[in-house]
């Protein structure tokens, strides 16, 4: 038995080393490539299944829509764009291997993943293969565009969204200025960097505004029963509850909080943006719920309305959500950079991405800063009876 195991282990090591040399051999080709034949390959590494599948699928659909529009108008540099998509199953390890696979296929740019943790897992691959990786929704502060260990901007890492600190700050300002809240409770998802970043920045800004945080509680993604903690929170005096996290748990928290008779406003960030939020919570429970987002279909500007009309025309009148809008902007941003780089060389594309100023898309106008973070505004959306009823742009 032991002998057999040894043989198996040896075989595994051999296979692995073969695979690794295979990767490094391909690395050298990637520099020259990005285009094969008449197309420019765009890698799409998204959460097409798993816990946050709706984010990945929506982003990819937006990206596809932009690519289709670009191709219908003659493509970029006389070539069509081609999306090569891989499913990372909402898992960081799978995201890394999907990025490896895309790099090996010689893509010019890698789009996605949609969430920060998964995006971060692909960054070493982007840096070592010298292929730009761009996420349209990885909002984590730490260690995305700026390497935490060295403090240097990562040359090949970009994003088109604002960061958590910005969303946490916006919601804290909204809570103090618009909702006139003085005491807040934070009930955060402790299993995601996203929620932790939001919670920390909300706390900082809300305290600076003169408010107090009366309780900080935490849950873990996948929890279903929040009654115990909510009962404790209910016994405290507070004006607003901030719930940084994703819609699956946030929906249940809203349902159970309203079930326990808590009437205070519930605040969140873009993780709330899913039609599932209202169906999990029950539409009648979703009152006085506010969340920050990159985009709202209630926004009346031309870019937004044009995008909405185009999306509705292609999707039987369905309204696009923010992830679709951001995926769409990402596609346009990539095409714009390739055009300005006048090359399909990933290094030149990275330079063009970094020097973008005043790019206007469906999620607002942005410029890329020296730290590869974008400078843009956010919208705060109000929900009543499970419906988004109003949106305010907040800088």
């Amino acid at each position: 038995m032991c002998k057999k195991l040894g043989v198996v282990a040896l075989a595994l090591v051999l296979v692995l080393s073969l695979a690794l040399t295979g990767c490094s051999a391909k690395k050298n080709n990637a520099g020259s490539g990005g285009s094969t034949g008449g197309t420019i390959k765009i890698g799409a590494n998204y959460e097409l299944s798993g816990a946050v599948a709706t984010y990945g699928n929506d982003s990819l659909n937006g990206l596809k829509m932009a690519v289709k529009e670009i191709n219908d108008n003659g493509g970029v540099l006389g070539k069509k764009l081609e999306i090569v998509s891989k499913d990372n199953k909402s898992d960081p390890a799978q995201a890394t291997s999907a990025a490896e696979a895309l790099a090996a296929q010689g893509v010019a740019v890698m789009a996605g993943p949609a969430t920060s943790g998964n995006f971060r897992a692909t960054l070493p691959v982007a840096q070592s293969n010298k292929i730009p990786a761009i996420s349209s929704s990885a909002t984590a502060d730490d260690d995305i565009t700026v390497d935490k260990a060295t403090g240097k901007t990562r040359q090949f890492v970009f994003r088109t969204c604002f960061t958590d600190s910005f969303q946490g700050k916006i919601m804290a300002n909204y809570a103090s200025n618009n909702l006139k809240g003085k005491k807040a409770v934070i009930y955060a998802d402790s299993s995601s960097d996203y929620a932790k970043g939001l919670a920390a920045n909300f706390k900082k800004q809300f305290t600076e505004n003169g408010g107090t945080i009366v309780a900080e509680e935490a849950y873990v993604a996948g929890d279903k029963d929040f009654n115990a903690v909510l009962t404790t929170i209910k016994s405290k005096q507070f004006d607003v509850m901030f719930v940084p996290g994703y819609y699956q748990e946030a929906g249940l928290i809203i349902k159970q909080a309203r079930g326990l008779g808590m009437k205070q406003p519930i605040l969140g960030a873009d993780g709330f943006d899913s039609p599932e939020l209202a169906s999990i919570a029950g539409a009648s429970n979703v009152n006085d719920v506010y969340f920050s987002n990159h985009y709202s279909s209630l926004d009346k500007s031309n870019e937004v309305q044009d995008f909405i009309n185009a999306y509705k025309a292609a999707n039987n009148g369905k309204e696009p959500n923010a992830f679709i809008a951001m995926g769409y902007d990402l596609g346009k941003y990539i095409a714009d950079a390739i055009k300005r780089a006048n090359s399909t060389d990933p290094v030149k594309i990275a330079d063009a991405l970094a020097s973008t100023t005043s790019f206007t898309g469906a999620t607002g106008t942005f410029s890329v800063g020296p730290d590869h973070n974008v400078i843009k505004s956010a919208v705060v959306i109000k929900m009543t009876n499970g419906q988004q009823v109003s949106a305010e742009r907040i800088k």
């Binding site: 299944s49 599948a53 935490a218 849950y219 996948g222 115990a228 009962t231 079930g259 008779g261 999990i280």
Partner: protein
């Protein structure tokens, strides 16, 4: 005090669900000394069947519950026949690993067909009315969960204690060979045990699904594990023990989460498992001696 009572209400509703699932673990363990790790996934299938029934046929709660229970019964018997029966005389570890395999098979087969995203039930399968009794809020759904669990547990006690088939179950659990010599059909009795346990898991699945209004193919894992802890806590193989264990685990988890340590709720449950295995492996109500797991 009001807050404490509210926490007890929360804990008992959660605990009734654990108790229902724990019964399935404990019965199967009692009969063939197998920890059926696929049990939580039978619950998940039950939740999905009731989701399909209420969404696509617009039937109400009771028909959905019955259809789920019957589907889970069949599933339980098939799992036993296909996966465990051929291993009846193999080592216990082989059967245990098979159980884990069956669990993964159910989870990922379903994920392949329906996807991994969370789904929610349509509104109004059960009324969402909430009663306010002296500041303690209890919903119709919680009342139904607690009552239904009680009724099902009493029904199970009746079957095990008062019927011929129940007598056969007890005999097989006591001594399989001797029972066989007395003319008891051991295979059929084991199938019947799986049938009962799976029906309870199906019922628990429907209740978890409707109460929390969120189902996904991996939803059975956590409740399954916690119910396993409940079964061990109460004394695995012991039916009243599973009920007491389930309720205690639900209440303990709620109190831990409600009084200060919201992050340690799961840790607390598994700490109980470790403590029980070290201090009293036979559990609260189990008979002494013998190694577990």
């Amino acid at each position: 005090m009001e807050r404490f009572l509210q926490q007890i209400v929360n804990g008992v509703s959660l605990g009734s669900i654990y108790a229902l699932i724990a019964l399935g673990y404990t019965m199967v363990y009692g009969i063939i000394k197998l920890i059926n790790f696929a049990h939580g996934d039978v619950l998940m299938i039950g939740a999905f069947v009731s989701f399909a029934v209420t969404t696509f046929t617009r039937l109400g709660f009771i028909p959905a519950l019955l259809i789920s229970m019957v589907t889970c019964m069949c599933l339980g018997v098939i799992i036993e026949r296909v996966a465990y029966k051929p291993l009846r005389n193999s080592s216990r570890i082989a059967v245990l690993i098979t159980a884990i395999g069956v669990s993964l098979l159910l989870e990922y087969t379903l994920m392949y067909f329906v996807g991994a995203q969370t789904r929610s039930f349509r509104q109004g399968v059960l009324p969402a009315t909430i009663y306010n009794i002296g500041g303690v809020r209890i919903s119709v759904q919680q009342i139904i969960i607690i009552l239904l669990s009680l009724v099902l547990m009493m029904l199970l006690q009746f079957i095990v204690r008062k019927t011929k088939q129940g007598k056969a179950m007890r005999a097989v659990s006591f001594d399989k060979e001797a029972a066989q010599l007395m003319g008891i059909n051991v295979d059929r009795t084991i199938s019947f045990t799986f049938l009962l346990g799976s029906a309870l898991a199906g019922a628990a699945g429907v209740m978890v699904g409707i109460y929390y209004n969120s189902i996904d193919p991996l939803m059975g894992m956590m409740p399954g594990l916690k119910a396993f802890v409940a079964a061990v806590f109460g004394g695995i193989g012991n039916i009243p023990g599973a009920m007491v264990g389930g309720l205690s685990i639900g209440v303990i988890e709620t109190l831990v989460a409600g009084y200060g340590a919201s992050l340690y709720r799961d840790a607390a449950v598994f700490a109980i498992l470790i403590l029980v295995l070290i201090l009293k492996p036979s559990g609260l109500m189990g008979k002494g001696g013998g190694s577990k797991v």
